[in-house]
């Protein structure tokens, strides 16, 4: 992903013969609402439980069971809508989407069809070539289905209803995305906003975030939309990008061959890296949507919405602006720091712990450099960082006040990894304090110059490169503890 981010142009065009095509992408993201209980029942939503242990009579659609809306899920959806700068609808309606499947106990999914809880909004993407606004068409609440498991028993399909009835937010974008890079940025931004809000954990491995991808192509410059295909249920950004590239090229090939594109639903085969037809428009289900008579229209007052607005935390766009204005962080660094709420929190804690004499540049470099490298290597999130913000701030302060050099700091950093050890203690125990006594350093340098007379003469004759040699020798002789700034000063004086 970093590779994609670092490219300075995220445009994606397909050239065939003399034609240049652009790809038009719209996403339907299914985000699992962070909530202890399901959308219409009190069963737990905890991930990873034993099959069919989190299923109420409502979830399994027993006769006479009725759905009762979970107010918390409604609040979560509204908060997300606010985060998407979207219109919150005072009245929305739950419909039934009717179809038969073994993991759909009711024989219908309760979803919002005509009247969603959230209307139009937008999301800002930070692309290398600048900001891009992507329109949000709507956000609606719906139930998840259960899970059919086909690969445990050779002759039977097994059904796990733990997920049945879990609340999902379906977030539908406008067809505003134009490249795999933009899709990457869009998903990450949505995920970031929802994680800031605490409305979806965005965990794609656990299926908390999945997307249906609508892809069409057209000659660049055209304003008409081509016939689209919908690629169902893709569960990672990488696969979304691969599917888009495959699908866009497939469509371009068809057009170039003079063929029509069928509007259809396709599946992405991750092993073969190709999409294939699942059902054509003619075979499309007739879901027979109608308002669920078990539920009244969902009405929320302006006061209710305003109260939620007042509970909205600072979101990534605002945080980024503040980091730039208040902390004088570069826009590039700010984008990285705010992209994930836990990174932003970590950074802000480091800043707070650094105290008055804080050094933003050092803080940013240590987090996005050393710390990120360790997290990547260990494949863990910043929330599980082996070094606390408090101790990283201490380390930075030790550099800042000259107690240690940047080089020694790296050694200390490595040692800190083993149990989040206070860097001050490492400095004292290992005697790594920087040598900043000019007299001691002068003596050390005198000895080096003495031992390397010839080189000192060559330097004086103009071989300035040799300065580095003397610095190196001095550092080596001090066991790396010499204050490099002082070494430089003394060497210049003495040579």
């Amino acid at each position: 992903m970093d590779e994609i981010m670092s490219k300075n142009n995220s445009e994606y065009l397909i050239e065939r013969n003399d034609n240049v095509y652009e790809v038009v992408i719209g996403l339907e993201v299914h985000a699992q609402v962070t909530s202890n209980s399901k959308l219409f029942s009190s069963s737990s939503t905890k991930f990873g439980a034993e099959p069919n242990t989190q299923v109420s009579l409502v979830d399994a659609a027993f006769p006479g069971m009725l759905p009762v809306i979970n107010e918390f899920c409604v609040k979560q959806a509204i908060k997300t809508g606010i985060g998407l700068k979207a219109k919150i609808n005072n009245k929305s309606v739950f419909d039934r989407k009717n179809y038969f499947y073994a993991d759909l106990p009711q024989g219908y999914q309760i979803s919002q069809y005509k009247y969603p809880i959230v209307g139009e909004g937008n999301v800002i993407l930070d692309m290398p070539e600048g900001q891009k606004q992507v329109g949000i068409e709507r956000l609606h609440l719906e139930q998840d289905a259960g899970k059919s498991i086909h690969d445990i028993d050779p002759s039977n399909t097994l059904v796990d209803l733990n997920r049945s009835g879990v609340a999902l937010m379906e977030i539908v974008s406008k067809p505003d995305l134009r490249s795999p890079d933009e899709v990457n940025a869009y998903i990450k931004k949505l995920r970031s906003i929802m994680r800031y809000l605490g409305t979806c954990d965005g965990n794609m491995q656990e299926g908390s975030l999945r997307a249906d991808v609508n892809v069409s192509v057209r000659i660049k410059g055209s304003t008409d939309l081509g016939t689209r295909c919908e690629i169902k249920n893709v569960n990672s950004i990488k696969f979304m990008q691969m599917a888009i590239i495959y699908e866009a090229n497939r469509q371009v090939d068809l057009i170039e061959e003079g063929q029509e594109i069928d509007q259809e639903t396709r599946l992405f085969d991750t092993k073969k890296n190709e999409t294939r037809s699942m059902r054509s428009k003619e075979d499309a289900h007739d879901y027979r949507y109608f308002p669920d008579p078990d539920l009244l229209p969902l009405e929320v007052t302006d006061e209710f919405i305003d109260k939620l607005k007042s509970e909205i935390p600072e979101l990534p766009d605002d945080k980024k602006k503040r980091f730039i204005d208040e902390f004088k962080v570069s826009p590039y660094d700010a984008t990285i720091l705010v992209s994930d709420i836990d990174t932003a929190k970590y950074f802000e804690e480091v800043v707070a712990k650094m105290g008055k004499n804080r050094n933003m540049k050092l803080a940013v470099n240590w987090i996005t450099g050393e710390l990120f490298a360790v997290l990547n290597e260990k494949n863990i999130e910043i929330a599980q960082s082996p070094i606390s913000a408090k101790n990283l701030a201490k380390l930075i302060n030790l550099i800042k006040n000259g107690t240690i050099s940047g080089k020694i700091a790296k050694t200390i950093f490595e040692l800190m990894l083993d149990g989040d050890i206070d860097p001050q203690i490492i400095v004292e125990e290992k005697g790594l304090k920087q040598e900043s006594d000019p007299k001691a350093l002068e003596a050390l340098i005198d000895k080096i110059i003495n031992d390397n007379r010839e080189k000192a003469i060559e330097y004086k004759q103009g071989k300035e490169k040799l300065f580095g040699f003397f610095v190196g020798q001095a550092m080596k002789a001090s066991g790396g503890k010499a204050n490099p700034q002082l070494i430089n000063e003394i060497l210049k004086k003495k040579l």
Binding site: L57, A60, A61, F62, P63, G64, M65, L66, P67, V68, I69, R96, N98, F100, Y101, A102, P105, Q106, G107, Y108, T157, V159, D286, R288, Y289, F290, P293, D294, L295, L296
Partner: protein, 485 residues
């Protein structure tokens, strides 16, 4: 013993409270009579042994403060009852034993009622004669080979045959009032939202409503007081102030304005229904009510509207009976084959017919023409009543366009069967309370009912008018116990 079973609920409670009859004696009487009444086929599932046991327990530790102290009661088999088989009259739920209790029945047990058993009904409450039940016809105690009405046919027959002191039914388009009318008993459909739908096998969610069925009006008021409650488990349950219906029951209806809707004089209505209605108007006047002619202009659209809305909801509500989780499962080559076989074998003809109609009217391309239009008409029907209630306090109509018909007479003619609901259906569409009380007999001596329709949540006025008219009408069922001979 036969005296116990012929007592009204009110009398039975009084006797039990005065310790003249024990709960167990009452239970025994009803069980004994039921054993001799198998021929009329009211029970789908008996709970006799347990009822006798529980009645004894009640007698050992009686609590006479309860509203139904130790009273044995049989209920329609559409109410889910914990650990007692609940079939909804369908083969597809033939083996289904709930692990939970409907709110309405729980309210009854909480007040001391004891379950006698589960009463026959049309399959998923779809029918007007109890002939669609997987468990067979029910005989109307009035006469052999006469239908008891439907869908709460087992309930009305059990009541008329003195097999339960009171009972509960459900009414989606007339399923309480029509069988009450056919058996010379009283049946009340409360305002939509009065009685919780939690734990009632759903037919058409926006129309279904549970209600009391009884031998007289006072008993209905006692039972309504027990079963009507606000329930958070039903999102359509309404939190309004409920009366103490039985203690507030009065025959003083002087000055109440009762509307007579001209549109209920339908073509081809038998003379005797017209006569009964006129008689009813006279009774109401005798009671001191003022009679006012009103118009409910959209009445003729009610039946077609109902037969779009109800099947539409039913087609979706019945999708859960798919053989996957509970109930009947027929084996199939694959999932779709299993669905098809299960639902073909599990559902009867009438249920299939309505699922097909419902699926059709919700289909894309037909939705606007049928379902959406029906919902709009439903609003107009509601408005008719709203406007009428600016002028009157209640409305008086016949309950049904005819008396009970013979078993088999209409079972091959669904449309003529559907016409039976013509006077009851508008009340469901508008969500209003309505009661049917026996008011006379036809040329065959079969009972005929009058319906009183009230304002939303005004069950008290409906009951009061019924209570005072009941006294003037002084109807008595003449039941010969022919099935025991």
């Amino acid at each position: 013993m036969s005296e116990i079973t012929s007592l009204t609920l009110y009398e039975l409670i009084k006797n039990i409270k005065e310790k003249k009859i024990s709960s167990n004696e009452a239970a025994k009487s009803f069980v004994d009579r039921a054993e001799k009444s198998k021929k009329i086929n009211v029970y789908v599932t008996e709970n006799f042994e347990n009822c006798l046991k529980l009645s004894k327990e009640f007698d050992d530790k009686p609590n006479f403060d309860l509203k139904l102290p130790g009273i044995p009661i049989a209920v329609k088999d559409l109410f889910c009852t914990n650990e007692v088989r609940t079939t909804a009259g369908s083969n597809i739920l033939n083996n289904f034993v709930p692990t939970y209790e409907s709110t309405v029945t729980q309210n009854i047990w909480n007040e001391g009622g004891i379950l006698l058993g589960k009463l026959n009904c049309d399959e998923f409450a779809m029918g007007s004669s109890n002939e669609t039940s997987f468990f067979g016809n029910v005989q109307n105690p009035i006469a052999e080979d006469l239908v008891p009405g439907g869908s709460s046919g087992g309930s009305s027959a059990a009541l008329a045959a003195n097999l339960t002191p009171v009972t509960i039914g459900t009414d989606t388009g007339g399923s309480i009032r029509q069988p009450a009318s056919f058996t010379g008993t009283v049946g009340l459909k409360p305002t939509y939202g009065s009685c919780s739908r939690y734990g009632i096998v759903a037919f058409a969610s926006s129309l279904d409503q549970a209600g009391p069925m009884s031998k007289d009006v006072k008993d209905s008021s006692i039972l309504l007081e027990v079963i009507s409650s606000f329930d958070k488990k039903d999102s359509t349950s309404i939190d309004f102030k409920r009366n103490n219906y039985s203690s507030e029951l009065t025959r003083n209806i002087k000055g109440l304005k009762i509307g007579i809707p001209k549109e209920y004089r339908v073509d081809g209505m038998p003379d005797e229904i017209e006569k009964l209605w006129k008689k009813g108007i006279e009774y109401a006047k005798d009671c001191g009510a003022e009679i006012i002619d009103i118009s409910l202009p959209h009445t003729s659209y009610a039946l077609p509207t109902y037969y779009i809305v109800a099947p539409a909801e039913a087609s979706s509500n019945l999708a859960r009976y798919d053989g996957v989780k509970y109930g009947l499962r027929s084996s199939g080559k694959n999932l779709i084959d299993m669905y098809e076989k299960t639902r073909s074998e599990g559902f009867g003809e009438e249920v299939k017919r309505r699922v097909m109609i419902g699926t059709y009217v919700l289909s894309s391309g037909y939705y606007d023409a049928y379902y959406l239009k029906a919902q709009k008409v439903r609003q107009l029907i509601k408005q008719d009543f709203d406007q009428a209630y600016n002028k009157v306090d209640a409305i008086l109509t016949p309950s049904t366009p005819s008396s009970a018909f013979k078993i088999g007479e209409k079972s091959n003619d669904p449309v003529s069967m559907y016409l039976n609901d013509i006077f009851t259906v508008p009340v469901n569409l508008a969500g209003l309370p309505g009661i049917s009380i026996p008011a006379g007999v036809d040329k065959n001596n079969y009972p005929l009912g009058l319906q009183i329709i009230g304002k939303p949540f005004d069950e008290q006025t409906v009951l009061n008018i019924a209570y005072s008219m009941e006294e003037k009408i002084n109807y008595k069922n003449n039941i010969t116990d022919w099935w025991m001979k």
